[in-house]
C-alpha cells in the first residue's frame, strides 16, 4: 500500500473536521495521520492528510472530499515537490550526556532533563523519525508522542492561489451563482 499526502484547504467552520473524518470512515479510506491548523487566512484552515490507499484511487478520494461544501481546495503533496515534516516528542531514560551522541546528524534536541529522564524534540520526515526512535530504543523509551505530518509546496506557488484559479474565484464575479437563490 502506497502512502500519499493530501493538503486540503477548508472553511474554518464548526463541524468541518467531523465531516472529513466521517467521509473517510464511511468510504473506508485509511488515514495514517491528520493534522489541522490555521493558515495565513483566518477564515481558512489547512488539513494535511496522510493516507494509505488500498484500491481507491487518489482522484476518487479527492473528488469525494471536494464534494464537501466546506472544502475549498485540495492538492497532492509528492515527495519531490513538497517539504514535509512531523514533530516528535520522546521521553527517554538516561542522562543527556549519554543520549546526545545518538542524536548526531538528526534535527533533534534535548529540551528537558529531570528525574533521570530526558525529553527529546525532533522535527523530521517520518522515515528519519522512525530511524531516530530505533537508535534511541536502547535507552528505554518511556513515552512517545508524534504529530501528524504537515507539508508545504516548494517554490512560489500557493495552494490558496491555485484553488482560486481552478475554481474561478480569482475573478471575483461569479456568473451561475447569482440567480439561483430563488427556488
Amino acid at each position: 500500500m502506497a502512502q500519499q499526502t493530501l493538503s486540503v484547504l477548508v472553511e474554518n467552520s464548526p463541524g468541518v473536521l467531523a465531516r472529513v473524518a466521517s467521509l473517510f470512515s464511511r468510504r473506508g479510506y485509511n488515514i495514517d495521520s491528520l493534522a489541522v491548523g490555521p493558515t495565513e487566512d483566518p477564515q481558512v484552515s489547512r488539513m494535511t492528510i496522510v493516507l494509505n490507499l488500498d484500491g481507491h484511487a487518489l482522484d476518487q478520494v479527492s473528488a469525494q472530499l471536494y464534494k464537501l461544501v466546506n472544502v475549498i481546495g485540495i492538492q497532492e503533496m509528492t515527495e519531490s515537490m513538497a517539504h514535509q515534516r512531523e514533530l516528535l516528542l520522546l521521553k527517554v531514560t538516561g542522562k543527556s550526556a549519554d543520549i546526545k551522541p545518538s542524536l548526531a546528524g538528526l534535527a533533534a534536541e534535548i529540551v528537558d532533563e529531570r528525574d533521570g529522564v530526558c525529553i527529546i524534540q525532533a522535527v523530521a520526515s517520518a522515515k528519519d523519525l522512525a530511524e531516530m526512535v530505533n537508535r534511541l530504543s536502547k535507552f528505554g523509551i518511556k513515552e512517545l508522542v508524534q504529530s501528524g505530518s504537515i507539508a508545504l509546496e516548494l517554490g512560489a506557488k500557493t495552494l490558496a492561489e491555485q484553488t482560486a484559479i481552478e475554481t474561478g474565484l480569482a475573478t471575483s464575479e461569479s456568473h451561475e451563482q447569482t440567480k439561483d437563490y430563488q427556488n
Binding site: 477548508v10 472553511e11 464548526p14 463541524g15 467531523a18 465531516r19 466521517s22 467521509l23 464511511r26 484511487a57 482522484d59 476518487q60 473528488a63 469525494q64 471536494y66 464534494k67 464537501l68 461544501v69 466546506n70 472544502v71 475549498i72 475554481t167 474561478g168 474565484l169 461569479s174 451561475e176 451563482q177 447569482t178 439561483d180 437563490y181 430563488q182 427556488n183
Partner: protein, 579 residues
C-alpha cells in the same frame, strides 16, 4: 429598533424569498416559535401525521415539480424521524430542505429534553447541513440551503436552528448571491471531452445508452431523444430513469439490472461502448462488477465528478450538466458520422432477436387467484402515461417499473437507492400536492402500506386525492421470493396475514378515504375505473393477489449479469442467439 424581527420571522421570510409555496411538517417544542409566523404566511403548511411522512412528501413534491421540497420538524425525535427520508433523498439525489428546531443554544450539549445532535447524525446523509445559533445567520443559511439542494447534483440539506435563535430579535437581510468558496458545480462540459466522446461513438459498432436518473434531474429528456436518434444506438433506462426515454420508442430496450429485461441486461454486457448519462454503476445494475460489460469502453457523463471512476473506470469522463452535454454531443457526433458512420445492423439484429425472444411477461396463477402483474399492468393501461405512478419497495415496485409504460419524465417515482419501504403513500401525497391536476397512483405492497399509511389521514383532511393500489400478497413478497430461491422455501417471518388483518378497505374508510376491495380477475378493470372516477377523496384499493408470483428476469445478488435467469432455474437459451 423598529425594523427588527424575530429569528422565526426571519426564517419564514427567507422561505418565502426562496420561493417556497408548500411545506410538510409537524410542530413541537423547539420549532414552536417558527410556527407562529407560519400561521400568517402565504406558504401552505400541510400538517402530516409523522415526520417521516413530511420528508417523503417533500421528496415526492420535488421529484414531480423539479423544485426543492421542504419539510419541517421539531428537535430530538421530530428530527430523527426525518433521518430515513433524508437518507432516501440523498441516495436518489432529490433536492430537499429540511428545517428542524434545536434546543436553545445554552442547552446544546447538555442532553436537554428532546435534544439530538441532528447535524452530526445527518452529516453522511445530507449534501450539506447547518446548525444555526445566531438569528442573524438564518437568512444566509436558508438561501445557501436552497441553492445547494437544487444545484449541481441535487440533494437534501438540513438546517437545524436553536430555539433561542428563533426567539431573539434580529435584522433581516436576504443575501442576493451565493458566496460559497467550496461549492461551485461545473455545469458546462469541457469541449475536448465532447470531441473524445463523439470520436468513440463513431468507432463503436455495439454502443448502448446507459441512462440514469440524472437525465430526469437535468430536465434533459428532449436532449436525450435527439442524441439517441442521432447515434441510433439501443437505450436502456435504469430504475431511476424510467420515463426519461419513451417506452414506446423503438430504440428502447427497457430497464437493465437485477430485474431488467434480457435485452437490456445483455445489451450492456455485450456492448463495446456504454454512453453513460447520469448513472452511477450501481451494484443493482452492474451485478458482479468485475464481470460487467467487460468489452465496453465507457463514456461517463455526470455532474458529480466523484461518480467518475468510483465503480468503473471511465475512458472518457464528461463533467457537467447533462442538458448542455447532450446538446453539444449530438452535433459533434453528426460531424464525426460525416467522416465515418459505423454500421449497427448486426448489433440491432442481435438486440431485436433478444427483445422478441425474451419479452417481459408473467404466468397466470393456476389456482384462479389474480396475478399481481396483471393488476399493475391494467392500472397503467387504464390510467395512461400522463398519470404519475409512485411505488413502494419490493416486488410491486419492480412490476410497476416493468409493466407500466412510461412516456414522460417525472411520471415514475420510487425509492431506488435506499430502497425505503413505506415511501409510496407519503411520496404520492407530495406528488399530488405538486401536480394537483394529474392522477397519482401509489402502487404499494401490503408490507409497505402498513409502514406509512397514516398519511392518508393527511390526504383526506387536506384535499389530496391520491389513489393507492395495495398489491396484497399477504407477505413481504420480495423477501419471500428470496426465501423461495435461496433459503429452501423456509418462510421465516415474511407472512403478514394481511388478508385477514388489517381489513385495508375498512382502515381506508376509517381514515376518511374510499376503501375498495378486488378479489377476482373479472373485477380488476371495473374497480380500477371506479377508483379513477373518484377525484374528491383518496381511494385505497386492496387487490388480493397470488402470493407465489415472482419477479423475473433476475440476476441474483452478487452474481454476474451473464447469469441472468428468466424463471426459476431457467437461463435464456444463449446457444440459439447470435451474440
Amino acid at each position: 429598533m423598529s425594523n427588527e424581527i424575530t429569528g422565526a420571522q426571519a426564517l419564514v421570510k427567507s422561505l418565502e424569498r426562496a420561493g417556497v409555496d408548500v411545506m410538510f411538517g409537524i410542530p413541537g417544542g423547539a420549532i414552536l416559535p417558527a410556527y407562529d409566523p407560519i400561521y400568517d404566511s402565504k406558504i401552505r403548511h400541510i400538517l402530516v401525521r409523522h415526520e417521516q411522512g413530511a420528508g417523503h412528501a417533500a421528496t415526492g413534491y420535488a421529484q414531480v415539480t423539479g423544485k426543492v421540497g421542504v419539510c419541517i420538524a421539531t428537535s430530538g425525535p421530530g428530527a430523527t424521524n426525518l433521518v430515513t427520508p433524508l437518507a432516501d433523498a440523498h441516495m436518489d439525489s432529490v433536492p430537499m430542505v429540511a428545517i428542524t428546531g434545536q434546543v436553545p443554544g445554552p442547552a446544546i450539549g447538555t442532553d436537554a429534553f428532546q435534544e439530538a445532535d441532528i447535524r452530526g447524525i445527518t452529516m453522511p446523509i445530507t449534501k450539506h447541513n447547518y446548525l444555526i445559533t445566531d438569528p442573524l445567520d438564518i437568512p444566509k443559511a436558508i438561501a445557501e440551503a436552497f441553492y445547494i439542494a437544487g444545484s449541481g447534483r441535487p440533494g437534501p440539506v438540513l438546517v437545524d436552528i436553536a430555539k433561542d435563535a428563533l426567539q431573539k430579535m434580529t435584522t433581516f437581510t436576504y443575501p442576493k448571491r451565493a458566496e460559497l468558496r467550496g461549492y461551485r458545480p461545473q455545469l458546462e462540459p469541457d469541449s475536448k471531452s465532447i470531441r473524445d466522446a463523439a470520436a468513440l461513438i463513431a468507432e463503436s459498432t455495439k454502443p448502448v445508452f446507459y441512462v440514469g436518473g440524472g437525465v430526469i434531474k437535468a430536465n434533459a429528456a428532449k436532449e436525450l431523444l435527439k442524441l439517441a436518434e442521432v447515434v441510433g444506438a439501443p437505450v436502456v433506462t435504469t430504475l431511476m430513469a424510467r420515463g426519461a426515454f419513451p417506452d414506446s420508442h423503438p430504440q428502447h430496450l427497457g430497464m437493465p439490472g437485477m430485474h431488467g429485461t434480457v435485452a437490456a441486461v445483455t445489451a450492456l454486457q455485450k456492448a463495446d461502448l456504454l454512453i453513460t448519462l447520469g448513472a452511477r454503476f450501481d451494484d443493482r445494475v452492474t451485478g458482479k462488477l468485475s464481470t460487467f460489460a467487460v468489452n465496453a469502453k465507457i463514456i461517463h457523463a455526470d455532474i458529480d465528478p466523484a461518480e467518475i471512476g468510483k465503480n468503473r473506470y471511465a475512458d472518457v469522463p464528461i463533467i457537467g450538466d447533462l442538458a448542455p452535454i447532450m446538446r453539444e454531443l449530438a452535433p459533434a457526433v453528426e460531424q464525426e458520422f460525416k467522416k465515418r458512420k459505423p454500421d449497427l445492423t448486426t448489433w440491432w439484429r442481435q438486440m431485436n432477436s433478444l427483445r422478441s425472444t425474451y419479452p417481459l411477461g408473467y404466468n397466470e396463477p393456476s389456482d384462479g387467484s389474480v396475478s399481481p402483474q396483471y393488476v399493475i399492468e391494467r392500472i397503467g393501461q387504464l390510467t395512461g402515461p400522463d398519470a404519475i405512478y409512485v411505488a413502494g419497495v419490493g416486488q410491486h415496485q419492480m412490476w410497476a417499473s416493468q409493466f407500466i409504460k412510461y412516456e414522460n419524465p417525472r411520471s415514475w417515482l420510487n425509492s431506488g437507492g435506499l430502497g425505503t419501504m413505506g415511501y409510496a403513500v407519503p411520496a404520492a401525497m407530495g406528488a399530488k400536492v405538486g401536480a394537483p391536476d394529474t392522477p397519482i397512483w401509489a402502487i404499494d405492497g401490503d408490507g409497505c402500506f402498513q409502514m406509512t399509511n397514516q398519511e392518508l389521514v393527511t390526504c383526506a383532511l387536506n384535499d389530496i386525492p391520491v389513489k393507492v393500489a395495495i398489491i396484497n400478497n399477504e407477505s413481504l413478497g420480495m423477501v419471500r421470493q428470496w426465501q423461495t430461491l435461496f433459503y429452501k422455501e423456509r418462510y421465516s417471518n415474511t407472512d403478514l396475514h394481511s388478508k385477514r388483518i388489517p381489513d385495508f378497505a375498512k382502515l381506508a374508510e376509517a381514515m376518511g378515504c374510499v376503501g375498495l376491495r378486488c378479489e377476482s380477475k373479472g373485477d380488476v378493470d371495473r374497480i380500477i375505473k371506479e377508483a379513477n372516477s373518484i377525484n374528491d377523496a383518496p381511494v385505497v384499493v386492496d387487490f388480493s393477489v397470488h402470493r407465489d408470483a415472482m419477479v423475473w428476469p433476475m440476476v441474483a445478488a452478487g452474481t454476474s449479469n451473464d447469469d441472468i435467469m428468466i424463471a426459476k432455474e431457467m437461463a435464456p437459451d444463449w446457444d440459439s442467439q447470435e451474440l
